[in-house]
């Protein structure tokens, strides 16, 4: 069990950030989703033992969030969303200092900092002052500072903010590698749902301080086995006509056609229609809801 919260409530004045939140999460790569103001930041801070909760209990990696707050932070790494830097240091000093703050000895911290900077791909740049770094380099630096002490759980908040597509791909690749191959559990909080899908297996959705949905991504995204999405090149109307001639209803959406296959008929009907209409089928797959649909559905169920 990676972490669990039981009935956690936290209010700040009139605002209830977390409302009787109970969630149990296994080890692995977990996505944390939720609209703005849902309590994601407060939940992350609760997991880090940074705030004192009004009610409820919780354990992170087996450690109680009320009693062992400092120990939790020694086993957890956190890369915050905002722009954060230690001033007036070069990259390698930044990461080594971050390690010393967790309790590493200075020599261990320096050795490990170099290793970790190799892993995130900051080469010679580590000898330059951090104020001169580009956004992509700062994000990598933050990640390096979060994993320098080899935590069992890594929490990242919007790690690809402001990065260009190449950098985003590399960072997601690093996150995937850490979670899937290197046995580090990952809590990935992001608004970019395709990023979360690419990295995580399990997802939790928060809304207004409560848990709205939780489960494996593959299970939440239902596979509609009898409903197909088909995209053809060129003439879509002729193809649709052929399908209706064969007794199938085709609903156009964006650039695809959604077709319900009745029982007993297979995808061969599409090929027959394509041959008859002289169309090329470029995309033909059973429809699977996207993570965005899962998310919006969970939110609408709340209301």
């Amino acid at each position: 069990m990676l972490f669990q919260l039981q009935g956690v409530t936290k209010t700040y004045g009139t605002v209830t950030a977390l409302r009787d939140l109970s969630v149990e999460v296994p080890e692995g790569a977990i996505g944390l989703l939720g609209p703005n103001g849902a309590g994601k930041t407060t939940m992350i801070r609760t997991l880090l033992g940074l705030i004192s909760i009004d009610a409820g209990a919780g354990q992170v990696l087996g450690m109680d969030i009320r009693r062992r707050r400092l120990d939790i932070r020694q086993a957890v790494g956190f890369a915050p969303e905002d722009e954060c830097l230690f001033p007036a240091v070069v990259g390698i000093e930044f990461v080594a200092f971050a390690g010393e703050l967790v309790g590493m000895r200075p020599k261990d911290a320096m050795q490990r900092a170099h290793e970790v900077l190799d892993y995130v791909g900051l080469g010679e740049a580590r000898y330059r002052k951090v104020e001169t770094y580009s956004t992509g380099m700062k994000q990598r630096l933050k990640l390096a500072a979060a994993i320098v002490h080899d935590p069992r759980l890594l929490i990242v908040d919007e790690p690809t903010n402001g990065m260009d597509p190449a950098g985003r791909d590399e960072l997601l690749e690093l996150a995937r590698d850490l979670a899937r191959n290197k046995g580090m559990s990952l809590l990935f909080s992001s608004h970019l749902l395709p990023d979360v899908e690419a990295v995580c297996d399990h997802v939790i959705v928060l809304g207004a301080g409560r848990l709205l949905a939780s489960g494996r991504i593959q299970e939440l995204k239902q596979l509609h086995k009898r409903q197909y999405e088909v995209r053809v090149k060129a003439d879509r109307e002729r193809f649709a006509l052929q399908l209706s001639a064969a007794g199938l209803a085709a609903e156009p959406r964006d650039d695809v056609l959604i077709v319900d296959l009745p029982d007993g008929r297979g995808p061969s009907v599409f090929w027959e229609a394509a041959l008859a209409a002289g169309a090329q089928i470029r995309y033909m797959r059973p429809r699977q809801s996207t993570l965005e649909e899962v998310f919006l559905k969970a939110l609408s169920e709340q209301r």
Partner: protein
Amino acid sequence: MHLEPTDQVAGPSQVTPIVELRSVSKWYGNVIGLNNLTIRVPAGVTGLLGPNGAGKSTLLQLATGQLRPSQGVVRVLGHAPWNNSALNRYLGLCPEQDAFYEWMTGWEFVHTCARLSGLPMADARDATARALEQVRMTDNMGRAIRGYSKGMRQRTKVAQALVHDPLVLFLDEPLSGTDPVARRELMDIIIALGAQGKTVIMSSHVLHEVQGVTANIILLNRGRLVAEGNIQQIRDLIDQHPHRIVLRASDPRALAAKLVRCDDVVGLELGRKDGSILAETHAPDTFYARLAPISLEDGTAIEEVYSDDDNLEAVFKYLVNP
């Protein structure tokens, strides 16, 4: 004020370009921002992409009249935007930076922008209410901006770009910091604007957002134009990288055996984790055309077909890091 087009649009394209750059270069001291760029942007939604430092912000600043080109000619709606305050009435800009008058409420801020664009008092009030309703900020418009979250600030920025009902809209990372709900709503607004015939140029690093609103892109790299037009067409033109097409069949190897005989197939990958096969071809038209007959033959019924790299991510990767 009524603008008369001063330049006749020349060129072979039949679609009238709304934003046009002809051999435009811009440098800052020694550093090159744009290098000999010629683009024609038609009506509708166009995505503006490129790695960091590619010149996207420079392009947007030139088109909105904040910068003057070092070389070349910039025309928006037929007029030069530099020093042209009359033109600004028809342009809307949602910049990337977060610079507000923090003490103003959302309503006051958008209203001020409306008045600054030249709307008379009564119209400005209606337009502000409408714009804030469009971006779903009506509940929060009475609060000071300093208390806004990132998503709310972003929506206010889009509102001030829309409030004076411009003909051309320039959006620089409009969806950054927004949660999926706001993201979906803003994307729908942008698609609707394009459908109404307005021109929207949206610059973003998040490729699936761009792909969600438009199929037309402009790709810049190092200040130069790399590609322009429809994503699918661009993909078809990329010769060096064969198209990767995934096929799922009940008997994948039999299907592979039939495909290996075709001249245009240059590679086949078998033994993939989910039982599908991957075919690589340089001639997608020929390949896709033969799938229907093959599927209807005995033993090689094809259950699923899709392309691995028919999307914007692949196009971007192939063109920027060849």
